[in-house]
């Protein structure tokens, strides 16, 4: 039997077991596939949540802004720390230590400061996305061949030119990895923020369905959100592949 067949078998068996168990135990709580699928249909035909499009768009916008800010600050901050040895050795460890804190502890402060609207989600998505990008740029600069930098400097290149013409191409692959992780974390940050407290966005819909015990709708919303997340990661994955080919 081929591996693919076994994997498909596992999926079928899992779904079947879920169906049987869900029906026998508590269909409302365990939402068997036979209940989840129609709910997904109702969601996609805008029957259960007519304003799904607006919420989806809002979440996407929050992610885009958060990620854009994270890239700007992450690349900028990482470059400054990477180019200046003293600053890098002073702030690098502080950055790494802050990265070790479970980021969700910052969220209540952000919510207090930015309110329940989009700003607090953007701030949290930014915060989560910033660290992996900055640390990747820092690591990338450190692995650039010193001789290349010396030669470029000898020909009179400024810091900015050295960064753009020498370092960026050499560390492209590391950077792409950081950008991918950063995107995944920005997405999670926005959605976590929405689930923990918001009035609009996919997370708020999920929370709404959960609060009203509309479990089938909840599962359908989770599926849609998951597709959104997977799609964003797939795009980042393509970019990473390109960068890898380019670097090699």
């Amino acid at each position: 039997m081929s591996v693919a067949l076994i994997r498909a078998g596992i999926v079928v068996v899992a779904l079947g077991a879920w169906e049987v168990f869900g029906r026998l135990a508590n269909p409302l709580l365990y939402v068997p596939p036979s209940a989840a699928l129609p709910a997904l249909g109702r969601l996609l035909t805008l029957e259960s949540y007519p304003d799904l499009g607006e919420h989806l768009l809002l979440t996407l916008r929050e992610i885009a802004v958060a990620y854009g800010l994270a890239i700007a600050a992450g690349v900028g901050g990482g470059a400054v720390l990477g180019l200046n040895r003293l600053l890098g050795r002073a702030y690098g460890p502080i950055l790494a230590a802050l990265y070790a804190v479970p980021a969700v502890v910052w969220y209540p402060s952000l919510m207090l400061f930015f309110g329940l609207d989009a700003a607090s989600k953007i701030a949290f998505g930014f915060l989560l996305g910033f660290f992996p990008i900055a640390l990747a740029v820092l690591a990338g600069i450190r692995q650039v061949n010193v001789q290349l930098v010396t030669v470029a400097r000898a020909f009179g290149a400024s810091d900015l030119v050295v960064f753009r013409k020498v370092m960026l191409p050499a560390m492209l692959f590391t950077l792409a990895g950081g950008l991918r992780t950063g995107l995944a974390l920005s997405v999670i940050g926005v959605i976590v923020g929405e689930v923990l407290g918001s009035k609009a966005g996919m997370g708020s819909l999920i929370n709404h369905a959960y609060g009203l015990f509309r479990t089938a709708d909840y599962v359908a919303l989770v599926v849609v959100t998951l597709v959104l997340i997977l799609a964003s990661d797939a795009v980042a994955g393509v970019v990473e592949q390109r960068a890898r080919r380019w670097t090699e």
Partner: protein, 253 residues
Amino acid sequence: MDRITIRIRIVQIVSVAALLAAWEAIARAGWVDPLFVPAPSAVTGAMLRVGALAMAGLGDTLAKTAVAYVISVVLGVGGGLVLGSIRSVRQAVNPFVIALYGMPKILVLPWIVLLLGFGTLPAVVYGAIHGVFPILVLVSGAVRDVDHTWLTVARAFGARRRQLYWKVVLPAIVPTVLTGMRLGIVFCLLGVLIVEMFAGVRGMGHVLGSFANGFQAPELFAATALVSMASIVIVLSLDALNDRLSHWRGEAR
């Protein structure tokens, strides 16, 4: 300390002090609303006021995290050994493990709470869900990649299966297990805190959430600083342990 290290320390201390001073000055000058951004001095005062409450919450959170962590490590290392050693199981199950590892766990949070209610149990379960996958993925990879020459040699000298695991596989994967444990503890703490914020009745996440809802900014900042410091201390001590163990391995070889 050599000169460069001293300079680094000076830069670190000066910039933290400058940041705090600037923050204090801005807050005193009234450029920001003290309701939302309290001055460091107000935060210090709040730290003294709510210290006992916050410490109790932190203790509660860390206890849940410890239980979740033990579960994660046991399941992660055990499952990793199985997945890593049995090729057919690994090939069949691995994509699912990777998918579950990558899936944002926030999506199942409401369901976990619906299923397990409020309180300690959902926090422990959700923390363990966060912690187990990185350990599982790392350990199964390490077991798979154990140098086959070592296994062949051990077998040639008549080692039994049990001896193979105890004498060859387990020592070989120790560094990876430690890396996984370092990753896992932060994930466990994260999971526990999220549940406490979302549906907590106790613990640090609940404390943070209720300070935010009550617009008690100084208390909120104080509690945030406390839990951040606690997690930094935990991670740094795991790093230090890791360092010592790797020295020990280096000498033994």
